[in-house]
């Protein structure tokens, strides 16, 4: 897994609540047996005007000019700002794969669906939960910058210190589980970590097989 420490990047405002995994990566793309290459089909049904299918040449498809990621100023965004319950729906890890492949490393929302939240950490993406009011303030700040047509709105995210710094210098603290933070900062692989407990797993199996032998017969 790729490490994450700090990043300063453009923020794209996706002003929707309950963005589900079907919207993040529609099911026809789940037929792939690979982990990569999902970026061009991130938000496919919002992003393009035609219906996407695997194998299409995405560069030739017509984009929906109204969709936020198609607007020039947000093209190179690496931080996504959204509303509550982001990533609800299925367990498909293709959703964080698509976000990561597109170039997002941080997602900020007032709340996330559990499975999606968990899947992000396994793929080097940092999901940040902030109060709904704070998120609302960020949306407003972005829209104000957009109106004034000034520079693009950027945030600096620092995982080690658990802070986000806004263009005006305001610092926003965020919570993150200590263990997940440790893994993300160091790019640690869960399976390798678990293999450090092989003896404990074997001891558990022995104990459990004595108590509940029927669980180990088939």
């Amino acid at each position: 897994m790729e490490k994450f420490n700090t990043m300063t990047a453009i923020v794209a405002p996706l002003n929707r609540a309950n963005v589900d995994t079907d919207a993040i990566i529609p099911k026809q793309f789940l037929k792939s047996i690979k982990r990569t290459g999902f970026g061009p089909n991130l938000f496919d049904q919002w992003r393009y005007l035609d219906h996407g299918e695997p194998g299409m040449e995405n560069r030739r498809r017509s984009e929906n000019p109204d969709f936020i990621l198609n607007q020039h100023r947000y093209r190179h965004a690496s931080i996504l700002l959204a509303r509550e319950n982001f990533g609800c729906g299925s367990s498909r890890e293709h959703a964080p794969w698509a976000l990561e492949d597109y170039g997002f490393r941080v997602i900020i929302a007032p709340s996330f669906a559990d499975i999606f939240y968990n899947n992000c950490f396994k793929n080097g993406i940092l999901p940040i939960t902030l109060d709904a009011e704070v998120v609302n303030g960020l949306f407003e700040a972005i829209y104000a910058v957009e109106k004034s047509d000034k520079d693009r709105y950027q945030l600096s995210v620092n995982l080690a210190s658990q802070t986000i710094v806004t263009p005006s210098g305001e610092s926003i603290a965020f919570d993150v589980d200590a263990f997940r933070k440790h893994c993300l900062l160091n790019g640690l692989d869960d399976i390798d970590l678990t293999f450090g407990h092989v003896d404990a797993i074997k001891a558990y199996e022995k104990r459990r097989a004595a108590q509940a032998p029927w669980l180990f017969t088939s």
Binding site: S32, Q45, K122, D177, F179, A200, E205
Partner: protein, 467 residues
């Protein structure tokens, strides 16, 4: 001493190791595998030169991509075919039991697990699929995982987890005639919202849940994830034990006797404390129909499409309006005035024998309305299909004008050829009404099997209690 909840007990009996911060290594008893979320996990194992930790804990079947029409011709979509063939190859290579597409035991992974007795009370059950929550109906801790975790379970038989909080949802008193498990769970989601269960493990309790069959309990637990909870569960009682008894994977003889004794404890202690409790009177629940693009956008069949103007929260109001635009519905329309184009009876929520019986009893001797373009029944497994045929249900459906299909996920998510055309409206017994779920620009209304059947006959939604 403070008692423990069912979830506390299931959790504690599976902890292999706990770190200081509470992060735990949890042992997994059963791992279900399907073709969509497993290829990258097997590939990861192969690259690392690993083998499954305990092969016998795994059970696989293809379900999302399989055609529901004549299977002798194979899968025509090349990409779908490769995915199913990849599962076959991986299972063969690693020695995992798989019910292949042409096996009568094949079906939706969440239907075949319980049907085979592969899900037992007290187990931890996972699958790379969010509707794994279904299996909590057996007093098991069951939840969906991502593909990285699929690889983790294959490699180590464990998962890294943090304990969730406890939420009790109690249905006090039985529901009335014509009201089903599906209506119960839709009403729950309507009450607490799609994020209401986030961070919790839900226990469904109360006399309204106890009165449900195992099929009904599976329907309720299936949609725990739609309420935001990874896991939903129901305490073990005699119905649970009767259901499990004598199935191919169930324990036998001495082990059966031992297991039944151990399973008696799989319920929350009377003195157990929940972090949060929600109570709903069973008698208040009516047949439900969703009107929007999220399962929480739901109302009783005798209600109307809500008016966004009456919503004070701006984000919610915009969400409601966007949903109505997508669904092609005007505010204040009576739910019974909505006319589906297609009817889909199936999915891991409602494709078991009891669901098919309920739908057939509404359909019997009647005809599908002329305005309905397609009405289809997709049994959850080959064995459900066989049972239904033995009972003559297939004849009842076909006589009425329904299509009778081969088992699989089908139009629940339209990864195979079964899907809605843009703008088409569907009465569906599945679990998600997200935009494009059943086909690009398709419009989904979630209902119970009896309500779907009644809508097929009438050509519009009707209150099945008067049908």
């Amino acid at each position: 001493m403070v008692g423990r909840t069912l979830y506390d007990k299931l959790w504690q009996s599976h902890v292999v190791h706990t770190q200081d911060d509470g992060t735990s290594l949890i042992y997994i008893d059963r791992h279900l595998v399907h073709e969509v979320t497993s290829p990258q996990a097997f590939e990861g194992l192969r690259i690392a030169g690993r083998r499954p930790w305990r092969v016998a804990a795994n059970l696989a079947t293809p379900d999302h991509n399989v055609p529901t029409t004549d299977r002798t011709k194979g899968i025509s979509d090349a990409v779908s075919r490769i995915q199913v063939e990849t599962l076959d190859k991986n299972c063969a290579e690693f020695g995992i039991t798989e019910f292949k597409m042409d096996d009568v035991r094949q079906g939706i992974v969440h239907v075949i697990g319980p049907e085979q007795g592969a899900i037992l009370p007290g187990m931890t059950v996972v699958c790379g699929d969010s509707h794994t929550s279904t299996h909590g109906a057996f007093g098991a801790l069951a939840f969906g995982i991502g593909t990285s975790e699929v690889e983790h379970v294959l490699a180590t038989q464990c998962l890294i987890q943090k304990k969730s909080k406890n939420l009790l949802i109690s249905i006090d008193g039985e529901v009335g005639p014509g009201v089903t498990a599906k209506d119960i769970v839709l009403a729950i989601i309507g009450r607490i919202g799609t994020a209401g269960g986030t961070g919790y493990a839900i226990e469904f309790g109360g006399t309204g849940i106890q009165a449900l069959s195992m099929e009904g309990r599976m329907t309720v637990c299936n949609m725990a994830i739609e309420a935001g909870a990874r896991a939903g569960m129901v305490a073990v009682d005699n119905k649970t034990i009767e259901f499990v008894k004598g199935r191919p994977f169930s324990p036998q003889g001495k082990f059966w006797e031992m297991a039944v004794v151990a399973w008696q404890d799989l319920r929350s202690d009377d003195s157990a404390a929940f972090d949060h409790t929600v109570r709903i009177a069973g008698a208040d629940i009516k047949p439900q129909v969703t009107w929007g693009t999220s399962p929480e956008m739901v109302t009783a069949v005798d209600g109307r499409v809500p008016d966004p103007q009456h919503e004070s929260d701006a984000t919610k109001r915009e969400g409601m309006q966007a949903a109505l635009d997508y669904m092609g519905l005007a505010a204040n329309t009576p739910m019974t005035a909505i006319k589906p184009d297609k009817v889909f009876i199936g999915s891991c929520t409602n494709s078991r024998i009891e669901d098919l019986r309920a739908a057939a009893s509404v359909v019997q001797g009647k005809k599908v309305a002329a305005s309905i373009k397609l009405a289809m029944v997709v049994p959850g497994s080959g064995l459900v299909k066989m049972q239904a045929e033995q009972e003559g249900l297939d004849k009842i459906f076909m006589k009425a004008g329904f299509e009778w299909r081969e088992p699989g996920c089908s139009m629940c998510l339209a990864m195979n050829a079964d899907r809605l055309a843009p703008g088409e409206r569907c009465a569906s017994t599945s679990n998600r009404n997200f935009e494009g779920r059943q086909g690009q620009d398709g419009r989904t209304h979630l209902v119970s099997p009896a309500m779907a059947a009644a809508a097929a006959i009438a050509g519009h939604f009707v209150d099945v209690r008067n049908a």
